[in-house]
Amino acid sequence: MVMKKCPVCGVSVKLENLERHVKNQHPRAAVDVRSAISAEEAREIEAAKRPAGPVITAKGTRTIAIVAVGVAAIILIAIFNPFRGVGPSVGQMAPDFTLTTSSGGSITLSSYRGAAPVFLEFMDINCIYCIQEAENTLPALYSAYSASAQFISVEIKNVAASEVESFRSRYGTTWPYGMDTTGATSRAYGVDVTPYFFIIDRNGIVSAVFRGVPSGGYAAYANALNAVSG
């Protein structure tokens, strides 16, 4: 509690009460109380007038810190998901698979080893980005590279083969669509979103990976295919 002497009567008064004291006790005194108060004292007066906030305890601070760390950990796990399946990286052997195709045939990845690079897409016919790629990019890419590379799409959801066939005819994506009805192939490639692309060279080694639609669009696919088609 800071006290200050009244400039009129000399009585010690609480700093925050000084102005009121002069006004009430010496109404005719021509004294500018504010000029007698320093800036630091003015701040103290403001602080004293402000309503006191509730008390934060040490125990509360510890509890809040623990809660904050826990919530932050949950959010980071949800966003970055360290338990996500890990697929092959660039330079690693692409896991082999044999799948029934939507047209009733069968396709085995390793059968292209030594023969042609593979453009492998994991997709879902109900995924908006897969539809956009099928509509805007992949048919043109297929026209340009079908002579030098094998195109394979894999439907990762357990949908009817007839629906995939409708999708193929609607968008003119005429290459084979494998049906990953058990999810085993998607897991082997660590597919957690669609579309997910792997460019595999003729030795079965992963040459490029695109998780989602690449920002470079057609050029990104074309560059990756050029790198393995030579």
Partner: protein, 155 residues
């Protein structure tokens, strides 16, 4: 002392911290809606899948991401908590604790509705949306406790 209850200040600070996390989560979801071309980073499986929820018609209204509702709602809750922490008890005729409780209830009801939409309409769960809903429920519980302590505290 063991078993000692948290003070009013502790509870208000906890509301503020939870609201900040709520703003961060909602902000991330809004950014996802605008910025991401395809894959979301919070896809844990085909059912726990933020991308599927984000790509649904429920993710935005008139081109504005639904997640902005969360940013605004948690922002209001944070403002109430900060006001109360500064010692403000009333805004006009409304008590700050009452406002905090009212907005926490509105937020929890909104979160409950959107969670039902995820489960029964979209049939996929956005785990970050659920975390946002859980944060709101936590704030609602604290706001309820705060309003109860005011009602029952001696004059």
């Amino acid at each position: 002392m063991a078993g000692e209850r948290l003070s009013r200040g502790d509870l208000l600070l906890l509301v503020a911290v939870l609201a900040v996390f709520g703003i961060a989560v909602s902000g991330y979801l809004a950014w996802q809606w605008y910025a991401s071309e395809s894959a979301s980073w919070c896809d844990l499986s085909s059912y726990l899948n933020c991308t599927k929820v984000r790509d649904s018609p429920w993710a935005a209204v008139a081109g504005i991401p639904t997640a902005f509702v969360g940013v605004g709602g948690f922002g209001i809750l944070l403002a109430f908590a900060m006001l109360a922490l500064r010692g403000t008890e009333r805004i006009g005729q409304w008590s700050v604790d009452g406002g905090l409780l009212a907005f926490a209830i509105v937020g929890a009801l909104t979160g409950l509705g959107l969670t039902f939409v995820e489960i029964f309409v979209i049939q996929a769960i956005c785990i970050l949306c659920v975390i946002g809903f859980a944060l709101d429920l936590g704030i609602l519980g604290i706001a309820w406790t705060l309003s109860g302590s005011v009602r029952t505290s001696p004059a």
